[in-house]
């Protein structure tokens, strides 16, 4: 029951906010926050039961035989549920302040709560269909939230893109479900995993591939990642909630959840690991070329998720999941802190127009610093433990090139995160500098003007500052400390691995590591420091700070086109698929349908009418002509009757 409560309270909150929005006014925010809080508490209360073998299971209903629905809470879903509701709670709280005065305040919280519900459904379901429902609803919620400011064309387009790419993911999962149900005749995870050993390798690979299309779309893996940067069109708390803490990690959840399948299919593992690695490095590279603070964070998210996917893909489940755990905190914190900045600068998102903000937003300064340290994997901060665990796990599972990619990515990450940090907080405030001097494209300036129509112009009193500051401050704690859960002296009996002891299949090659763990940590640290060094050299030296405007202008103008256009993936997808579909549609709808198919139909009708005109013309009104026709008929008949006699 508690489980159901945890699931449904956010839904109830969503419905209440949506239906009663006009009457609730500002109360809606508190109501929604409370709902998520209740959900969090309920989940927390189930901790004990969930960590028992088998976890908590609740059977709900059945569509028909084989289609049994239920909820389950085991360590994996418990972890996700806690993050979703816990981080979600903080973000809700933050939103009360951030969204204050928006025209659709209540609607925003309805969407947020709905998102929490969908995410909970996703992680709590004990079956494929339930997962898929949650999966789809999460996509829907993200669509709503990204397109929250729907009068803006770009937001609408971003929302649509996110939704459609997510549907591609849904479809991949659906494909996997056909394969599973057709072979297992049950939609439950447990039945599937129990039967997975009997699957042939091609089938298993197909299932995994289908599932991974879903995971890739949701977790913004190459080449289905293009929605994620665009998704920053949504309000900042949305970015924090969806694109940092929860939604994008659903792919990680899925792969981790399906560990029994993957572990039987090395080919699938290879696929996932490769894509994950590719995403990690692509995201990182693209992160170096962004100017929008939220887009930098978005690419960093993409890159980090690539890590996780790579980890869980190749079998380093604990590491991947651990990185999800730590990433949730520091990335949420980074986003929320950047939201503070954006809020303070009245919706300015371009880092080139920031600078010297330490004094203006001290909390943001500290929060972002901690977040950057954590994401870079500075020892002691949470990211250090989890990232190293992935890199080490990849190697242990026998993929040295991924190991290399992981390390390289760590270095690039350190570079662009510190770049962000330095440009934002060091030097002079550049808010009053002419955008052209900063190398900003004129159309981009125009677009920014229409940004975030929200909080201005509201006559009501401001919400208390603490609702925004408190979550940021609170998140600093786990950002720093969460990693320690993973730490253990003997390398195997950390609280973390005890927690997941029963969850994941043990990797067969776990012991065959060529490089010891401490060595990995050191190498990684070296790479990270190198990255930081480059960033310092470019942005943090005294001379760099002095010539900031010129430097930024140069950098903006010299940015390689390849990076500005994000490797042309978007262009390619747009050109091939979107335009292709439109072209086909136009061809069918404007030419084939009205002219060929319908033309044939109309041709038949027209020929009947033409025949009618002919009949009319033959009916000349002249008796002699009629008589002639009759004689003609007589001739025909006689010809038949005279010569038709049987002989």
């Amino acid at each position: 029951m508690m489980l159901l409560l945890a699931l449904l309270v956010p839904l109830a909150g969503a419905i209440a906010c949506w239906a009663l929005g006009p009457w609730l006014r500002n109360l809606a925010g508190w109501l929604a926050t409370a709902a998520v809080g209740i959900s969090f508490v309920a989940t927390l209360l189930l901790w004990g039961a969930a960590t028992q073998p088998g976890g908590v299971h609740l059977a709900l209903f059945s569509w028909m035989s084989g289609f049994d629905f239920g909820l389950t809470l085991d360590p994996l879903s418990l972890l996700w549920a806690l993050i979703i509701t816990g981080v979600g709670f903080l973000i809700h709280l933050y939103s009360i302040g951030y969204m204050h005065g928006d025209r659709a305040f209540a609607r925003f919280f309805a969407y947020m709560n709905f998102f929490i519900f969908a995410m909970m459904l996703l992680v709590l379901s004990d079956n494929w269909v339930g997962l898929l429902v949650g999966w789809g609803l999460v996509g829907l919620a993200s669509y709503f939230l990204i397109g929250f400011w729907f009068e803006r064309r770009s937001a609408v387009a971003a929302a649509r893109k996110a939704f459609i790419l997510n549907v591609i993911g849904d479809v991949g999962i659906m494909f996997a479900i056909f394969l599973i149900v057709a072979n297992v005749h049950s939609i439950r995870f447990a039945d599937t995993f129990a039967a997975s050993a009997t699957f042939g390798a091609p089938l298993l690979y197909a299932i995994c591939a289908g599932l991974f299309i879903g995971a890739a779309a949701k977790s913004a893996q190459v080449p289905l990642h293009t929605w994620l940067p665009d998704a920053m069109e949504g309000p900042t708390p949305v970015s924090a909630l969806i694109h940092a803490a929860t939604m994008v990690t659903a792919g990680v959840y899925l792969v981790a959840r399906c560990a029994p399948l993957w572990s039987h299919s090395p080919r699938a593992q290879m696929l996932v690991g490769t894509i994950g690695a590719l995403t990690a490095i692509v995201g990182a590279i693209l992160g170096t070329a962004q100017w929008d603070i939220k887009r930098i964070l978005a690419y960093s998210t993409m890159s980090q998720i690539g890590y996780m996917i790579m980890g869980v893909g190749v079998g380093a489940y604990a590491g991947g999941v651990a990185h999800f755990f730590t990433h949730a905190f520091f990335k949420a914190q980074l986003f929320l802190a950047s939201g503070l900045i954006i809020h303070a600068l009245h919706n300015e998102q371009d880092v080139r127009k920031m600078g010297g903000l330490r004094a203006r937003t001290p909390l943001a300064f500290w929060a972002i610093l901690v977040g950057v340290l954590a994401i870079c994997g500075i020892p002691g901060f949470s990211g250090f433990f989890s990232k190293d665990q992935i890199i080490q796990g990849v190697l242990e599972n026998g993929h040295p090139w991924m190991y290399g990619v992981g390390l390289l990515t760590a270095g690039i990450t350190a570079y662009y995160m510190f770049r962000l940090f330095f440009i934002t907080f060091l030097g002079e405030y550049r808010g009053n500098v002419d955008p052209a001097q900063l190398g900003m494209a004129p159309e981009a300036v125009g677009a920014e003007v229409a940004h975030e129509p929200a909080s201005t112009g509201s006559g009501e009193a401001h919400a208390p500052a603490w609702v925004m500051n408190l979550p940021v401050a609170l998140l600093i704690v786990p950002s720093v400390l969460a990693g320690w859960l993973l730490f253990s002296t003997d390398g195997a009996s950390s609280p973390w691995s005890r927690f997941f002891a029963a969850q994941f299949p043990t990797a067969a090659q776990a012991s065959a590591a060529a490089v010891p763990e401490w060595a990995t940590a050191l190498i990684a640290l070296g790479v990270v420091l190198a990255g930081i060094g480059v960033a310092v050299a470019r942005y943090a030296t005294r001379s760099a700070q002095a010539n900031a405007v010129a430097r930024l202008r140069d950098e903006s103008l010299r940015m390689p086109k390849l990076l500005v256009n994000a490797f042309y993936v978007d262009t390619l997808i747009d050109g091939v698929f979107v335009r292709g579909a439109r072209l086909l549609g136009s061809l069918f709808g404007r030419i084939l349908d009205p002219h060929v198919i319908d033309g044939a139909v109309r041709g038949v009708a027209a020929s009947a009418v033409g025949f009618g005109v002919l009949v009319r013309a033959l009916q000349s009104g002249l008796v002699r002509a009629y008589a002639l026709v009759i004689v003609l008929g007589v001739g025909c008949f006689l010809a038949y009757y005279v010569f038709g006699i049987p002989r």
């Binding site: 009916q619 009104g621 002249l622 008796v623 002699r624 008589a627 004689v631």
Partner: protein, 106 residues
């Protein structure tokens, strides 16, 4: 003449009647004067009558005679009505020509 036997071969009568009949048909088609058309129709009827009479003789069955008699009677009645129609149809018209009567068409 023995019973059942004709003065001439049967086919001669038939051929004669066929020729008469089709002369009548031709008249109906090629003439434009309604009266001549009606006369042509009378020719057709008479050709048929010849057929009946010849066959009646051949079969020694007086049904053919009766039939011919009926045809003559009917022809008389038909002529009466036909001529009345011709009169009313062409009384107002300047020309006595069936081609004039072609208002109904299409």
């Amino acid at each position: 003449m023995t019973p059942g036997l004709l003065p001439m071969p049967l086919v001669d009568y038939l051929a004669l009647s066929a020729v008469m009949f089709f002369i009548g048909v031709t008249g109906v088609i090629v003439r434009r004067n309604p009266l001549v058309m009606l006369m042509s129709i009378e020719l057709m009827f008479n050709a048929a009558n010849l057929l009946f009479v010849a066959y009646a003789r051949a079969w020694l069955n007086d049904a053919g005679h009766i039939f011919a008699f009926l045809v003559i009677t009917v022809a008389a009645a038909e002529a009466a009505i036909a001529l009345a129609i011709v009169v009313i149809a062409f009384r107002a018209s300047k020309n006595v020509d069936v081609d004039e009567a072609s208002a109904l068409r299409g």
